[in-house]
C-alpha cells in the first residue's frame, strides 16, 4: 500500500536464508544478506534509545556478532525476529550497565539523580492551603490509596497505566495482553468502584461522571 515500513521480505525467505546459513552454504554471503535485511530495525532500536550514532553502530555490530555466535544453537523454524530483538535488548542493557558503572566510578555523578534511578519520589502535591486543608488533603490521599489497594489487580493495572502512565486504550491492551474492550470495561469499573468507595466521604462522585 505504498507503506515503506512494510517488510519487503516474507518470513519464509528469511527462514530459507537462515537455513542456508546454518547449512554452511556460503555463510559469509548469507550473513551479509541477513545483516542488510535487519540493519535498519536494529540500528533504529538503538537510535530510539537516544544513543549517539557511533554507539548505535557499535551496538548494532555487537548485536549481529551475537547472532553470528548463536547461529549454531538457533532452532530453525523458530521465529527469528524475537531472537534478534532479545540479542539487541541485551546489548542495550549491557551498554546501560557499562555507562552506569562508569558514572559510579567517575567524578561526574550528577547531583540530581536521573529519572530512572532509585530514590525517585512520587509527585507530591503542593500544599497551598492552610494546615486544615493540608490535613484534609492527606486524609483524602490515604483513603484514595486504600481504595486503590482494594481494586482487583487488572482494574488497578488499567487505571495505573491510563492515569499514571498516560497510555491510550490500545497501548494498555498491548501491555496487558487484553482486548481494548476489556481495558475499557476495567477502567469503567475501576472508576465506579473508586467513586462508590470515596464518594460519600470525599465528594468524588462528580469527579467521575
Amino acid at each position: 500500500v505504498g507503506n515503506e515500513t512494510l517488510p519487503a521480505v516474507s518470513e519464509p525467505s528469511v527462514d530459507a536464508l537462515l537455513a542456508s546459513i546454518r547449512a554452511g552454504e556460503t555463510p559469509e554471503d548469507g550473513f551479509r544478506q541477513l545483516f542488510l535485511l535487519y540493519h535498519r530495525p536494529v540500528y533504529g532500536f538503538f537510535a530510539r534509545r537516544g544513543l549517539a550514532p557511533e554507539d548505535c553502530q557499535e551496538l548494532t555490530q555487537e548485536t549481529f556478532l551475537g547472532i553470528h555466535r548463536g547461529m549454531g544453537s538457533f532452532r530453525l523454524g523458530e521465529p527469528f525476529d524475537p531472537w534478534l530483538f532479545t540479542v539487541a535488548a541485551n546489548a542495550y542493557r549491557k551498554h546501560r550497565r557499562y555507562l552506569a558503572a562508569g558514572r559510579r566510578q567517575g567524578q561526574e555523578l550528577p547531583l540530581d539523580a536521573p529519572a530512572d534511578e532509585p530514590g525517585r519520589s512520587a509527585p507530591v502535591l503542593a500544599a497551598d492551603g492552610g494546615p486544615e486543608e493540608e490535613t484534609l488533603r492527606r486524609e483524602r490521599l490515604r483513603l484514595l490509596r486504600e481504595a486503590i489497594e482494594k481494586l482487583p489487580e487488572q482494574m488497578r493495572a488499567c487505571l495505573v497505566l491510563r492515569i499514571h502512565g498516560g497510555l491510550k486504550y490500545r497501548e494498555i491492551a498491548t501491555q496487558l495482553g487484553r482486548s481494548i474492550d476489556t481495558v475499557k470495561t476495567h477502567l469503567s469499573q475501576a472508576r465506579k468502584r473508586l467513586t462508590e468507595e470515596l464518594g460519600e466521604n470525599l465528594g468524588w462522585r462528580e469527579e467521575w461522571s
Binding site: E25, P27, L144
Partner: protein, 268 residues
C-alpha cells in the same frame, strides 16, 4: 478547580502506589521473556509476573513495543556501508574465517578409497546395468534423484534435530515431522551436543524395528557445529503411511567411530 485537584490527587496516589509496587516488582524481565509474553508464548505464571512488572516499569513497557519493530526491512545505502565495518569484525571471528573446506556443506562425500555409503554405489552400479538393459524409465528416475541430491535444496523440508529430540520448521509442538506427499527430498540437520571433535562423522537412520534404513559416512561438521544431510524421502518408508518412529545414530572418528548421540525422529 476542585475536579483538577482531585485528578491530581488520584495521579499522586497512583504514583505512590507505583513507587511502592516497584520495590516488590523484582528485576526487569529478560528480553526473551518480553518477546515471548508479547507472542503469547509464556507460561501463565511467568506471564503474570511480566504483566505486573510492566504496570510499574515504563522502561520495559517501551521495550515491549520494540519487539514488533524487528522485522526485515529493504536494505538501504546505510546498511550497505555498515556492512563494510561489520565484515571487518566478522573476519576476526573464527567461524567465518576458517578454512574454506569448513564452509562446504557436507552431504555424502564422493567415495574415495572406500565407499561412502553401503547402498548408493550399488544403486549407481545397478542403474548402469539397467541402462544397458534398455530400462530407460528406471535410469531416468535414478538420474533425476541424483540431480536432486546434488542441487541446492533450501526449500526441502528441514528437520532440525537436537540430541534426543525432533523438530521441524513450522511444526507445532515439535517432535513429529510431516513430510508432504509432494516432497521427494528433505534436509536433515544434526546438531552436535558440543563442539565438533572429529574430522569425520558417520550417521545411521534406524527404523522402529532396529533395521538400518540408511547409513552414510565421511560427513564433516559445519562451522556452526552441525551436520547437514539432504536425503530422499523414499528412504523413510513410514512417510505418508501413518506415524513412524526413527532414530538417527551419529558416530564420530575413523572407522566405525564412537557413538556421539542418538536423535529421535517421528514422521507423520
Amino acid at each position: 478547580m476542585v475536579m483538577k485537584d482531585r485528578a491530581a490527587e488520584l495521579e499522586s496516589a497512583l504514583g505512590q502506589w507505583v513507587e511502592e509496587a516497584s520495590a516488590e516488582a523484582g528485576p526487569h524481565p529478560d528480553p526473551a521473556d518480553l518477546a515471548a509474553y508479547l507472542g503469547g508464548e509464556l507460561a501463565d505464571d511467568r506471564a503474570d509476573a511480566v504483566r505486573r512488572h510492566l504496570v510499574v516499569c515504563a522502561e520495559c513497557r517501551e521495550l515491549l513495543l520494540e519487539v514488533e519493530r524487528f522485522a526485515p526491512s529493504p536494505p538501504d545505502a546505510d546498511a550497505e556501508a555498515a556492512w563494510e565495518a561489520m565484515a571487518a569484525r566478522l573476519a576476526d571471528t573464527p567461524a567465518l574465517s576458517g578454512a574454506p573446506a569448513a564452509r562446504v556443506v557436507p552431504f555424502v562425500r564422493p567415495p574415495a578409497s572406500k565407499p561412502a555409503s553401503r547402498w548408493l554405489p550399488w544403486a549407481v552400479a545397478a542403474s548402469f546395468l539397467l541402462v544397458a538393459a534398455g530400462l530407460g524409465s528406471w535410469a531416468l528416475t535414478l538420474r533425476r534423484a541424483v540431480l536432486d541430491l546434488g542441487g541446492p535444496q533450501v526449500n526441502a523440508p528441514i528437520v532440525d534435530l537436537y540430541p534426543g529430540s525432533a523438530r521441524r520448521s513450522g511444526a507445532a509442538g515439535g517432535g513429529a515431522v510431516e513430510l508432504p506427499s509432494g516432497v521427494r527430498l528433505f534436509t536433515l540437520i544434526l546438531n552436535l551436543p558440543g563442539p565438533s571433535e572429529h574430522d569425520s562423522y558417520r550417521a545411521e537412520i534406524v527404523d522402529g524395528g532396529g533395521r538400518v534404513v540408511w547409513s552414510g559416512g565421511g560427513l564433516a561438521a559445519n562451522p556452526y557445529g552441525s551436520l547437514t544431510l539432504i536425503l530422499p524421502r523414499s528412504l523413510l518408508a513410514g512417510a505418508g503411511r501413518g506415524s513412524e518412529e526413527y532414530s538417527v545414530r551419529l558416530y564420530g572418528g575413523a572407522g566405525d567411530g564412537e557413538l556421539i548421540d542418538v536423535y529421535s525422529l517421528a514422521l507423520e
